[in-house]
């Protein structure tokens, strides 16, 4: 049963967004029940589709006044259940807000609405010889607003950084319903860096309504090297040697035999047959630098025992090779009725040990694991394959999946490199952080959202109650008393 408090807002929401943009039909509501991670589902009481920042502010104000939880949703491609609706709450779908407001090529900035897709920003920048650097694999469809919520990475963040390094300003609606800016687009922060703290907060601190992103001059030269190996260890040696040579490639990706086989079957990417590991190394930058790096990378790949090396210099060839990598998740999905994608991170030098451990875990449990990973930064994407018709196999897969995260934590890594904690991994947070760490993080939550209405139940396993802060107050500062300054 939809919650009465939320459905009672239908009239007010209709007044704000117009009837066509308020969804109450149970069947239609169900289309919003999950994001890219389909194992977590909840049907929202109400879905609204605002068209402007002011409408978002009015919606959030209505929710705040009535104690109704709300969840923002971009393109719904997230892989941690971060946009799973609240059953007693309002889902705010940002898909109508997709204007590119401005491109300023001299300042290297673009101002966009949150529903704009990641790739659309790069397309808008391309005529000026620029691009938007963060490129999650879902960039054709994922929204920039969602990228801000998740601090999205992508294959090229090894060199170019994450969303947080490229977002220079945000207009947000606070959980109290107020419109405010965090950052002014310059990259120079006045006061606390709330812009940095907000980015990656997974929709729990407010809703983004405008984004100022930094654009990057498009690289003069891009080269992609594909090297095949007869073991993951040999490929791993090449990665270490490349990093050891002082080269920071734009991307270093690796796939194991199972994922190569799957990608080959799905998109016929023409990867070397029978390889146990395929390494992709992309170099970008000024032509004069990239040529020299390319020669070094080829030499190092060969020295590590590559059975075959290919280079792709033109965009079409590169796209063909990348197609294999980017299709890997979906391709592996064809090998199995169901699969879990993990997103753990380990120090890069521990990759070999951790992959061996995953392989052992896989053998012990009889559950297959395909490995696709960002080798340059140690971000693993093990795909745990199982048959969801079997309860026993489902449980075994979940257990294996948890054991992989335990391994990542044991090696000093993280439970998530780019997919976010969301609903899915909040139970693992206490394994990575102490109770004090988590409580301290939630002080930020309490500052932004003391009522706990903004995307509740995500990131933290146990919400912190934000009571009245016990403060010791002294006599006011003279400047405050004189009305010259504000104390906070």
């Amino acid at each position: 049963m939809p919650d009465a408090k939320a459905t009672a807002l239908t009239g007010r929401m209709t007044g704000i967004c117009g009837a066509p943009n308020v969804i109450t039909d149970p069947l239609e509501l169900r289309t919003y029940e999950c994001d890219g991670l389909t194992s977590h589902r909840a049907t929202p009481a109400l879905v609204v589709l605002p068209g402007t920042a002011e409408e978002v502010a009015a919606i959030v104000t209505a929710c705040a006044e009535n104690g109704v939880p709300f969840v923002a949703r971009g393109s719904g491609t997230g892989l941690s259940g971060g946009a799973v609706p609240h059953e007693e709450g309002v889902l705010i779908a940002m898909s109508r807000m997709r204007k590119i407001i401005e491109v300023d090529p001299v300042a290297r900035r673009a101002v966009v609405e949150p529903g704009v897709t990641n790739l659309a920003v790069t397309e808008a920048a391309r005529p000026f010889g620029m691009f938007y650097a963060p490129d999650p694999s879902s960039q054709v469809i994922c929204s920039v607003g969602g990228n801000v919520a998740e601090n999205s990475g992508g294959a090229h963040c090894l060199k170019h950084g994450f969303t947080v390094n490229h977002v220079m300003g945000l207009e947000i609606v606070t959980p109290a319903g107020e419109l405010t800016w965090l950052g002014d687009g310059t990259g120079v922060i006045s006061g606390y860096d709330l812009l940095g703290a907000f980015t990656g907060s997974e929709g729990t601190l407010g809703i983004v309504t405008k984004i100022v992103v930094k654009l990057t001059p498009a690289p003069e030269a891009v080269h992609l090297v594909l090297a095949a190996y007869d073991s993951l260890a040999a490929g791993g040696r090449a990665v270490s040697d490349i990093i050891g040579a002082g080269i920071v490639p734009a991307a270093i990706e690796m796939m194991d035999a199972l994922s190569i086989e799957a990608a080959e079957a799905a998109v016929h990417c023409g990867y070397p047959e029978g390889a146990s590991a395929v390494l992709l190394v992309e170099l970008d930058g000024p032509a004069a630098e990239v040529e020299a790096e390319l020669a070094t990378v080829r030499t190092l790949c060969k020295a590590a025992g590559a059975t075959e090396i290919r280079a792709a210099d033109d965009p079409a060839q590169r796209a063909g090779i990348w197609a294999g990598r980017k299709s890997a998740f979906a391709a592996v999905g064809r090998l199995s009725p169901a699969y879990i994608v993990q997103d753990g991170v380990v120090p890069r030098t521990a990759l070999g040990d951790v992959l061996a451990r995953i392989s052992a875990l896989s053998e012990e449990s009889g559950i297959r694991v395909a490995n696709v990973f960002h080798a340059g930064d140690g971000n693993l994407h093990p795909l745990v394959l199982y048959n969801d018709a079997s309860l026993a196999e489902t449980e075994a897969a979940e257990e294996l999946s948890g054991a992989i995260l335990d391994t990542c934590i044991a090696y000093g890594g993280s439970i998530t490199g780019e997919h976010g904690v969301g609903l899915d991994k909040s139970r693992y947070m206490p394994k990575m952080f102490t109770a004090e760490d988590l409580e301290t993080m939630q002080l930020v939550r309490c500052a932004f959202d003391p009522a706990g209405l903004c995307n509740p139940g995500k990131v933290f396993p146990t919400p912190r109650l934000c009571g009245e802060v016990p403060g010791k107050r002294r006599a006011p500062h003279p400047a405050v008393a004189a009305g010259q300054a504000e104390i906070f």
């Binding site: 310059t186 780019e418 400047a479």
Partner: protein, 421 residues
């Protein structure tokens, strides 16, 4: 010594083995602290802050102390937490391009350790500064254009809250989105939220070669020419690490310099092409031009930071000139123009505050700001009714709420932050 202060002394001494009375040399903006304590590790720092909380002491963290004279003096300061004993490089995982350091370690010490493996933290800040101080003050050098500010290189942090609770966020892997990023919040927080005790950074390989390409634009040229040249350099796919500008006085010649880093052959080829972008008089060298800023200093007493979108650079230079002309002063202008930051250095004189106000009025766009980083008391009080030191800061009520959560007693560096936080 009163009975009370004896009790406090005893409590602090029990928490921290290195404790002494504050002296005139420890004064910040005229406020002499009662105590100076030097914790040796995070747990000692935590015990110290717990004791300070029990006795309601106002606490000021201190690294090398080089920037304590900047900004607004604390309203009160009972205890200075001197971080210089926490000076260890705890971990350098060269293969992972990551280093974990104690907050009191000096930059020069850390860079020495990292250089042995051909790596660095890509910040050009004074070697004598402590890394905790660099993070807390958000100090940047010219290479911010390419590498960003300390918050962009920080991947993990350990802090002690005002009540002595130890907390960490991030970790020692570069790619990590688990939990809120407290490092971002503490970077630039000037000690007002808590004490930074450890920090973990992503590293970069030391460039094999570097080149400086510089030129001087003639006296009296239009600001638009300067802006065009800076933008051409900063937005070029030749990938500048820094694009700096320097001008001694309004109307004088403007020096523009570009730093390129990379392989020896690559840098040479790029420098030649960059020289083409800067014009006929451009010179290439492997040493920084004489005017290249070594470190940001408030040499003349007043240091102002103007931030802007690069497309407004011409307008910013014109506004500085107009305000200087009206005030009858001749300030020096320099900084990371390509990254949208300029510093204006002026002397303490009656017209200085008026100059700042005029500049703020002329540059009222929400896409930038005019902040006074350092100024003597006369200028500070003259600006008190006119935007204060920070100028307009968006989201002040959220910042107030964050401060209340982390430091409900308002004891951490009280009053140091914009608008009296």
């Amino acid at each position: 010594m009163t009975a009370d202060s004896a009790v406090v002394t005893k409590a602090l001494a029990a928490a921290c083995s290195v404790l002494r009375d504050g002296s005139a040399g420890d004064a910040v903006g005229g406020v002499v602290p009662s105590f100076v304590a030097s914790p040796g590790d995070t747990s000692e720092a935590a015990a110290l802050l717990r004791a300070a909380a029990e006795h309601d002491l106002a606490v000021l963290p201190r690294g090398s102390g080089s920037r304590l004279g900047w900004g607004i003096p604390p309203e009160r300061c009972d205890l200075v937490v001197d971080m210089l004993r926490m000076d260890a490089v705890l971990e350098h995982a060269a293969g992972d391009l990551v280093a974990r350091v104690q907050a009191g370690a000096r930059v020069v010490t850390i860079l020495g350790v990292l250089a042995a493996a051909g790596q660095e933290i890509a910040l050009d800040v004074p070697g004598t500064a402590t890394i905790g101080g660099v993070v807390a003050s958000g100090l940047c050098g010219p290479r911010r254009l390419r590498y960003g500010s300390p918050r962009d290189l920080l991947i993990g942090i350990t802090i002690v809250r005002a009540d002595g609770t130890v907390a960490k966020s991030g970790g020692k892997v570069v790619k990590n989105v688990a939990g809120y990023d407290l490092g971002k919040l503490f970077a630039g927080s000037a000690g007002t939220l808590g004490l930074i005790t450890e920090a973990t950074f992503r590293l970069h390989p030391l460039p094999a070669a570097r080149a400086f390409v510089s030129t001087t634009l003639p006296v009296g040229g239009p600001a638009a020419d300067v802006a065009t040249t800076v933008a051409a350099a900063a937005n070029s796919p030749l990938v500048a690490s820094a694009v700096e500008l320097s001008r001694h006085a309004p109307g004088g010649p403007v020096s523009i310099g570009v730093l390129l880093e990379g392989s020896a052959d690559g840098v040479a080829a790029r420098a030649e092409r960059m020289a083409g972008l800067l014009g006929e008089s451009a010179e290439v060298g492997d040493q920084a031009p004489s005017w290249w800023p070594v470190a940001l200093e408030a040499d003349d007493g007043v240091l102002i930071r103007v931030s802007f979108w690069l497309s407004a650079l011409g307008e910013v230079l014109d506004a500085i000139d107009a305000a200087a002309r009206n005030a009858g002063i001749a300030p020096m202008v320099y900084g990371s123009a390509g990254a949208g930051v300029l510093y204006v250095s002026c002397r303490e004189e009656p017209a200085t505050a008026g100059f700042v106000s005029a500049l703020r009025a002329a540059l009222s766009s929400p896409r930038g700001g005019v902040a006074v980083l350092a100024a003597p008391a006369s200028v500070r009080s003259a600006l008190a009714d006119d935007g204060g030191m920070a100028g307009s800061v968006p989201a002040l009520s959220l910042m107030r709420a964050v401060k209340d959560q982390f430091d409900p007693g308002h004891r951490m560096a009280p009053g140091r932050f914009p608008e009296g936080i």
